[in-house]
């Protein structure tokens, strides 16, 4: 063959064709990458949802478990004509619902294609089983098991929080971890421990054929991923005590918090009125009802409400006074139905006079603490009252007041303790003196604290001078809590001053009726309960009833704070509630002679006293 130009061009043509064919050979036969990519393109991932971690109480009881429910899925392209009425009957839905849904699917048919979509969410197993028996009559419909929350104990609705399907706003915040259709904890422990509880989704991989129909498992499931169940969590809550606490607080507005002083573990945290666990399980149905309830059951008063502490706060002022040396335990002050300054007076109730420090706690004398606060603020140690007040605030803050305690419970609020700047802004500098702010001495005025703060104060006194940050999650197999919950926090008051306060609290409860002790109602024989009443004036109606107590006096096992809105005297509602809870925790029952008291509390209904915007 001559190598003329014609042949050269033909050789060129063949070379070019050979290059194309060689490249085709390389990508079609030699290189597996493209086949794998193609499989990726035609793979369909079907999600396997993990079961959520179980929430246990401190004794191993299940607070939150899981149960199976079924979502009814429908693949619109596979649906044939079916007996709508039979369908409605077995699934307990209306024909209108079915018609509406099917029309909706038809409108979106392009987007849906051969996919399955959810038609009915969370069918109970009984309903689904009925459907499964006749499912052959309804091609295109099938069930998908899904685990939902179950609550064996009616305890801790607000605490536990609820789980619901993620919404668009949530997805925007967590674009990588969640997909539409996933569930997530929204409040309470479910939200706070979402990462541990949620587990890991798995998937089955299926292959589509060219008509977009699922054809087979991808490589027999070799690359499927099992779902990893969420980690179980152990809370510090005592389920039975929590349940009892909720019963005691039923039909009252307020909070009941119990802490184990030696660990800072929260045993019980009741916010009343709260959310019933039955509502939690199906929050979607009840959400409107809950959110429009005038008593705001979603509002967790135990950590979010800012209340005046009332006389309970005298304990703090007394301890600061002892530490600052403005009084000794033997200092006697007179009280003539109150503390008089100028033409004004801060009233007190009738009790013997003069009294010493322990007696002032026992009888909750207002005048005594006016003297202490005045001496604190007019202490010559400090150049001016600003400095003295700020020092006082520093002391108070060292008890955990005026700031978030840092518990592992979400949405905790910090309360408020005023400083000199606050009053300078209010009255101008130099425009106020000790008597201006004298109500601080008895826990009134510009002080705000949460029931959790009060329980923590009680635990601090029970521990004679230190506290552990209150927390609600315990160490367990899969979960280790932050080491900060195992650190002691000492107050700025020396521990040697605490026994005097404890003495006063003991006498307040155990001196018997007629002795002048304010909390005799809380006394339980043999339990050595130490307590302090409070009656907090407030602009929203009757006084709030406040009581803190711990027991036993030595090696206390429980510290309780009860706060009953508009309950009147501390001894009327809060003291019985707190002492009943303490008794139940320590002895497991209520003694016979206190059954009447228990009955009165359980039946008590104070809801009418609370002013709400209806």
């Amino acid at each position: 063959m001559k190598l003329n130009r014609e042949n050269k061009l033909i050789i060129g043509l063949c070379t070019a064709a050979a290059i194309l064919i060689a490249k085709l050979f390389s990508i079609q036969i030699l290189d597996d990458k493209y086949k794998m990519d193609a499989e990726n393109n035609s793979m369909v991932y079907s999600t396997i949802y993990p079961t959520r971690g179980i929430i246990h109480d401190r004794n191993g009881n299940i607070l939150v478990g899981n149960k199976v429910a079924y979502d009814l899925l429908v693949t619109p392209k596979e649906v044939e004509d079916f007996d709508t009425l039979a369908f409605c009957e077995v699934l307990d839905v209306t024909p209108e619902f079915v018609r509406e849904k099917m029309q909706e699917f038809y409108r979106n048919r392009r987007r849906i294609g051969y996919q399955s979509v959810i038609m009915i969410k969370q069918l109970p197993p009984e309903t689904y089983m009925k459907f499964a028996e006749v499912a052959y009559k309804f091609p295109g419909f099938r069930g998908q098991a899904r685990s939902i929350r179950e609550y064996p104990f009616n305890a801790g609705g607000n605490l536990l929080g609820y789980v619901s399907e993620v919404d668009a706003a949530f997805l925007a915040k967590h674009p990588d971890e969640y997909k539409s259709g996933d569930y997530a904890g929204k409040t309470g422990i479910e939200a706070a421990r979402e990462e541990e509880l949620r587990g890991e989704k798995g998937y089955n991989i299926w292959l589509r054929n060219s008509r977009n129909k699922i054809e087979s498992r991808y490589r027999d499931g070799e690359f499927d991923k099992e779902a990893v169940p969420g980690n179980d969590i152990t809370t510090t809550i005592d389920a039975e005590l929590q349940h009892y606490g909720q019963m005691l607080m039923a039909n009252k507005v307020g909070s009941l918090v119990a802490i184990e002083p030696s660990t800072g573990e929260i045993l019980t945290m009741v916010s009343s009125p709260g959310i019933d666990v039955d509502m939690l399980a199906d929050i979607g149905q009840h959400y409107k009802e809950i959110s429009t309830n005038p008593y705001k059951p979603m509002f967790n008063r135990a950590v979010q409400a800012s209340y005046p502490p009332g006389s309970v706060f005298k304990l703090v002022n007394g301890l600061i006074g002892l530490e600052e040396g403005v009084l000794t335990p033997n200092t006697m002050y007179p009280c003539s139905m109150g503390y008089h300054f100028g033409k004004s007076k801060l009233g007190c109730h009738a009790h013997k006079s003069p009294i010493n420090f322990e007696e002032s706690i026992m009888m909750s004398c207002n005048a005594y603490y006016c003297y202490i606060l005045r001496d604190l603020l007019e202490n010559p140690k400090y150049k001016e009252i600003d400095e003295a007040l700020d020092k006082w605030r520093e002391y108070v803050m060292s008890f955990g007041f005026g700031q978030k305690l840092g518990s592992d419970f979400p949405s905790e609020l910090g309360g408020f303790i005023p400083d000199s700047k606050y009053y300078n802004r209010y009255y101008r500098k130099g425009g106020w003196k000790a008597t201006t702010v004298i109500s601080l001495s008895i826990g009134q005025g510009e002080i705000g604290c949460t029931p959790l703060h009060l329980a923590n104060l009680c635990a601090t006194i029970a521990n004679r001078g230190f506290y552990y940050t209150p927390h609600i999650i315990k160490d367990s197999e899969h979960v280790t809590i932050d080491p900060k919950y195992k650190e002691k926090h000492y107050t700025m008051v020396d521990t040697t001053h605490f026994p005097k306060v404890v003495g006063g609290m003991y006498r307040a409860v155990n001196s018997g009726y007629g002795s002048g002790g304010t909390a005799s109602v809380a006394a339980v024989e043999g339990l050595d309960i130490c307590g302090k009443t409070g009656t907090a004036q407030n602009p929203h109606g009757s006084d709030h009833s406040v009581f803190i107590c711990f027991a036993p006096r030595d090696n206390p096992k429980i510290a309780v704070a009860a706060y009953v809105e508009n309950g009147g005297f501390g001894a009327t509602w809060a003291a019985p509630i707190a002492s009943l809870l303490t008794e139940m925790y320590l002895t497991g029952e209520i003694s016979k002679d206190r059954k009447n008291l228990e009955a009165r509390i359980l039946q008590g209904d104070l809801m009418d006293r609370v002013r709400v915007k209806k």
Binding site: L9, L13, A17, I21
Partner: protein
């Protein structure tokens, strides 16, 4: 080979090259079947459904066959030579008119719209250009080596090309580059093709590597050519190769030198200052200012006059031409950057960048090519079977029935199918070249080569694009891609040649 014998007075039917026609019909039917495959899942319908592309393509095929029949049986093949000038002028006028009167499709104005029917004049300009080239170049006394003839030939090709570039259809314009093969057959110097090839190579090198590398390669090739031509290959091996290697090492040497001047502590400070000498508090070493490119240009500046003097002494025009080409190449390298950044349009620049691997961009411009390669690659040896392709079905591949129709072939028919299609094209082009060569008339031969060049360029660019050998240039696969203009254009292009070919067999 009875059918190709040159016996006078053969029957109408027998004088047609039926093998070409069968090859054409096969490609058209393959195209139709694959258009149906590429759309059937999103619009499940009969292949004849006139609302779908396969149904419309059926209409185009029937009309194309009518056009073919008219060309074969109704029109005298003698008219083309005489009409080629008016046809050419008419088509050029259409090409210009479409810029102003056409509708805009994907950023280019190259389509006329008459109601629902769209028509792209660029498709018939291939025919008119081929016809005029054949007419002009088959004249008595035409010599491509003569400057006047060559310039007119070049103008005939460049005029429609330029207008098509103005329509922003650079891809279609690229096809005209293919006419260079026809010119080569007609006596154009092989050096010209070589120079064009070198120009493209240095353009790519400039963009992907550096102007330094491009100029070094140009100098190396030029020196090799000069030495080979004057029989001094051993001198090239002994003297030039070491010098070239030394030059290639210059950047590394300069870098090492710079580092030794700055010292290790200085380098750390410099790294901390992100290469800012002033911020690092170091005087910029003199080696930084002397760029390797300057050294290379300096060496070339010293050697070139010497070589030129040798060429003068030996009366070697070749040497001087080579040196001139080299200088032109260097100028090209320096302007390449400018051309790339200033002349090319954004989307063209991106496509070139992706093709040359300058930018990884699997979801942008590279997405099309990547998905197309996945579709073809997943076909394997025998393919997934007709209508069973998954990649083309889910719509991962864009433009499935037009520019990327080869994906469907590759996925559903596998390597065997795609190689078969390529072989069909090779057979078709080879057959055209063979018939052209056997022709007694220069007009038929030249026109035949033009047809072969056009089909070849479309074939190579289109399939090369789908398998990642070429940048994404939106031109159809002849006879196979969906589209009326393109099918009609190629049918007319091919059947005019078959008619010319038959005409010769009939009368000679």
């Amino acid at each position: 080979m009875r059918d190709t014998g040159g016996h006078r007075g053969r029957g109408l039917a027998k004088s047609i090259d039926w093998k070409l026609v069968i090859c054409y019909l096969l490609l058209v039917l393959i195209g139709w079947a694959n258009i149906y495959a590429s759309i059937h899942s999103s619009e499940p319908a009969s292949i004849f459904d006139f609302d779908s592309r396969s149904g419309k393509q059926f209409v185009w095929i029937v009309t194309a066959l009518c056009i073919a029949a008219i060309i074969l049986f109704a029109l005298s093949p003698r008219i083309y030579e005489g009409l080629s000038v008016p046809i050419y002028i008419f088509v050029v006028a259409l090409l210009i008119a479409v810029i102003f009167l056409g509708i805009e499709v994907k950023g280019s104005r190259s389509w006329f719209a008459f109601g629902p029917v769209r028509f792209q004049p660029a498709e018939i300009s291939k025919i008119s250009t081929s016809l005029l080239l054949a007419t002009f170049m088959s004249q008595q006394g035409y010599r491509i080596g003569r400057a006047k003839d060559f310039i007119i030939t070049a103008l005939i090709i460049l005029l429609p090309m330029l207008i098509i570039v103005l329509q922003s259809e650079t891809g279609s314009a690229l096809v005209y580059v293919g006419f260079i093969f026809m010119l080569y057959r007609e006596g154009l110097s092989g050096w010209l093709i070589f120079l064009v090839g070198m120009a493209i190579l240095s353009f790519i090198l400039t963009l992907t590597a550096s102007p330094f590398t491009a100029i070094l390669v140009i100098a190396a090739v030029a020196s090799l050519c000069i030495c080979l031509y004057s029989g001094r290959f051993r001198f090239w091996l002994i003297a030039c190769v070491p010098l070239i290697i030394l030059m290639a090492c210059v950047p590394a040497i300069m870098n090492a030198w710079t580092n030794s001047i700055i010292g290790p502590e200085g380098l750390e400070a410099l790294a901390a200052a992100e290469g800012d000498f002033a911020a690092a508090g170091i005087a910029e070493p003199w080696t930084m200012k002397v760029k390797p490119l300057y050294i290379l240009l300096g060496v070339l500046g010293l050697t070139t006059p010497f070589v030129a003097y040798l060429g003068y002494r030996e009366r070697s025009i070749f040497t001087h031409l080579s040196l001139l080409s080299m200088i032109a190449g260097i100028v090209l390298v320096f302007s390449a950057d400018f051309i790339f950044n200033e002349v090319l349009q954004d989307h063209q620049r991106k496509r070139i960048e992706v093709l040359l691997g300058m930018k990884e961009d699997p979801t942008g411009v590279g997405y099309n090519v990547n998905q197309s390669m996945i579709a073809i690659g997943s076909g394997g040896l025998f393919g997934k079977g007709y209508l069973n392709g998954t990649q083309t079905t889910y719509g991962f591949v864009p433009e499935q029935s037009t520019d990327f129709i080869f994906c469907t072939v590759g996925e559903e028919w596998g390597f065997m199918g795609s190689a078969f299609v390529i072989m069909l094209y090779v057979f078709l082009i080879w057959r055209i070249i063979r018939n052209a060569e056997r022709s007694r008339e220069a007009f038929t031969r030249i026109y035949g080569y033009c047809v072969a060049c056009c089909i070849f360029m479309h074939l190579f660019i289109n399939i090369g694009m789908t398998i990642g050998l070429m940048p994404v240039i939106g031109i159809p696969l002849p006879f196979v891609s969906y589209g009326g203009s393109s099918l009609w254009g190629f049918t007319a292009l091919l059947f005019i040649f078959i008619a010319l070919d038959r005409n010769e067999k009939k009368y000679f």
